[in-house]
Symmetry: C2
């Protein structure tokens, strides 16, 4: 069963998590002075509207009409009951997933890319720069800027640029310009850290350009809350009073936050972030101020971190290979309102293939972390003989990650 | 604007075109005796239920509940108004598209794959064989057999097997076994003809196996009519009395037929098939009996054909590279109820990129033929200053065809 909603049901206001936190977030610190950053520090690379959202305390923030118009190209996304998976598991649990894979870029990322492109365009910015690893975020921003007739420059980690051309082609199809990073070291395979440096340097050096980030920051999570807001309404349509647990994969936190934050006001709903064992930020990191990038150019954020010089192994869930995490998610985990679990990728792909063979669609490796945790919750419910309502985020499809499936099915996957 | 419908709105009966034809179809002829084939000739490779549907004359045929249950995983598919494309074209026409790309396999193909797997399973068949070129059909059948816990053996044209591994991986993820064809000539690049021969020979030689075909035949088009039936209802929701024109890309005819056939009863609705200039079956072929495969193993069908030994050039719209066409579509074109147009692939990709940069999603090369024709209809409406309602079939996404976009954007596309 799938619950769809007409286009006019896209939420018209975003849910701000700030009023629901146990304590205000620690302020970001300037990388040089180590003093709290103000709007003027951020203005060279972000529009004022987003800087304001980053610090906003009101509970709801209106979604502009021009943003709604574009979100309605694919939203509301379906909420699906995974009945065939339930049957395969023989569980008394009811499993639902919120399907963000139906967006043009194939993931939840466009929810914020569209909003960021809009606010920049409103303030007269003609060109956005960003970094991308495997390409999910870069393609989302490429899509969004195309629809606002803006220029887009994506610095792509060179190893991905050379080995995984499909995401690059997607971005170019939308008209984005893609360049391998680091730009000044042609032989270097690159890293997300180097690509951030290239993108920020580019934006800061040109009057017509700003920089855009696809996760971690408060305004990014804010834009993603359309996911959870829709899911709550669809659960009502499905006759569920509330879920027992809401599960999402978590790298920088935008997918998990987007689904989970709107459930914050109900203390009965358990919220679970899932990360890879090889990059266990929330489950094994320390809570501290740290840089967002490896080079130390960004403000210091108060968050769980593995250290900004941590280099995660090359697992297939590229979107979860981040040393830090969103300050909002970090705060909620620290205060016990959210939990985190970690899985090795072998167990994750086992779940992905079980999902594909029962529900039919092939999930992204990132998404499969949430599927693994949802299956384990359902199996626990079976063991305990308890009904449970499980909701997880289907953050993206795996159609551009089929190499990972080939490695798994061929026994070539490193089970980290 | 998108018009979605709840799961219980999937049509519960298929629309049979047979009663709406100007004359009964010519019977298929046995390849050896050249006499009309009977059910007993087809029984070694098809289940009786599908043979009966192939020859059915009743106007409606019930969709089995187990088939509906699976179709409801992604159906009804959305009908979308392409407002942003309309604005870019500055046309008075209203353009709608029926989005079949949301299926697990990414195209309309699963609509019949699910039904075929079901009827075979009902008659005790444990294993299906088929051929696939670029992999769209093979992946649809791999998906369908996974959901019915059947075995699936796909003979894939060797050149595609080696050069385009992603579709192979998709099929394997669903549990299908994929083998390069021709099986007995390891150095040969293969062809759809050789793959059909391998698949038919396999199915005929084993008691537990049948063969499955993804287009051309009457029962395949029948299963696809859910597309047009839903679209008619969604057009009503959108406030449209009727479309002026319905457009679909046409290779073997299952996509175009699925959308267009339910509009047959209304003579005011123009129906337009779009094919590649390099494989112009309907626009430049002759109407005659011909084999369905290159080797001459299948029954002779009465259809438009370029000759069963015609070898189309290697264009990117692999799904449209077929020498023949569905007997139903052929008959309707011959009697003037349907029209056909042909386009070279350069013009087709130009339309594809314009679509991606306005509506946001990246279409399959096959689908882009319909987009090209829809754009030209809209431009004609502008020239004539006339309102028009244009509906086209968005048969599949282009996420596994990005190499084609890379070639187009890089100026390496052969404009045939």
């Amino acid at each position: 069963m799938r619950w769809t909603m007409p286009s006019d049901k896209v939420p018209e206001a975003w849910f701000n998590a700030a009023p629901h936190l146990a304590a205000p977030l620690d302020p970001p610190l300037h990388p040089a002075t180590k003093k709290p950053v103000g709007p003027e520090d951020l203005a060279p690379i972000f529009p004022m509207a987003l800087i304001a959202q980053e610090m906003a305390t009101e509970p709801w923030i209106d979604v502009p009409g021009a943003v709604l118009d574009i979100l309605r190209l694919w939203r509301p996304t379906p909420l699906v009951r995974a009945r065939r998976l339930e049957e395969a598991l023989d569980t008394p649990a009811r499993i639902y997933y919120k399907d963000e894979s139906v967006s043009p870029a194939g993931s939840h990322k466009p929810n914020t890319a569209v909003a960021q492109a809009y606010y920049n365009k409103q303030e007269g910015v003609a060109r956005l720069t960003t970094e991308t690893g495997a390409g999910q975020w870069g393609s989302a921003l490429g899509f969004a800027t195309a629809l606002f007739s803006m220029e887009c420059k994506v610095y792509m980690v060179r190893a991905s640029f050379e080995q995984k051309p499909y995401r690059r082609v997607m971005m170019q199809t939308w008209g984005a310009s893609v360049e391998p990073s680091p730009v000044d070291e042609p032989g270097h395979p690159g890293s997300l850290g180097s690509a951030i440096s290239d993108a920020v340097r580019d934006a800061a050096s040109r009057d017509d350009s700003h920089y855009s980030l696809g996760s971690v920051l408060n305004h990014v999570l804010l834009h993603q809350t359309v996911i959870g807001l829709e899911a709550k309404e669809q659960l009502q349509m499905a006759g569920e009073e509330r879920p027992d647990v809401v599960i999402g994969c978590c790298g920088g936190g935008s997918n998990f936050g987007g689904l989970a934050l709107p459930f914050l006001p109900d203390p009965e709903v358990r919220l679970v972030a899932v990360e890879p064992s090889s990059c266990p930020t929330l489950t094994a990191g320390r809570f501290d101020y740290d840089f967002g990038d490896t080079a130390g150019l960004t403000p210091l954020l108060s968050m769980y971190t593995l250290g900004h010089d941590f280099v995660p192994p090359p697992i297939h869930a590229g979107g979860l290979r981040y040393h830090g995490d969103s300050p909002i998610i970090s705060s909620l985990v620290r205060h016990g309102r959210m939990q985190a679990v970690a899985y090795p990728q072998g167990k994750v792909f086992e779940a992905a293939v079980q999902f594909a063979r029962t529900q039919g669609t092939i999930p992204a490796p990132e998404t499969s972390h949430a599927i693994r945790a949802a299956i384990d919750e359902a199996l626990l419910a079976k063991e305990q003989g308890r009904e449970r309502v499980i909701v997880f985020g289907y953050s993206g499809h795996g159609l551009l990650d089929l190499q990972a499936y080939d490695d798994y099915l061929g026994g070539r996957l490193d089970d980290q």
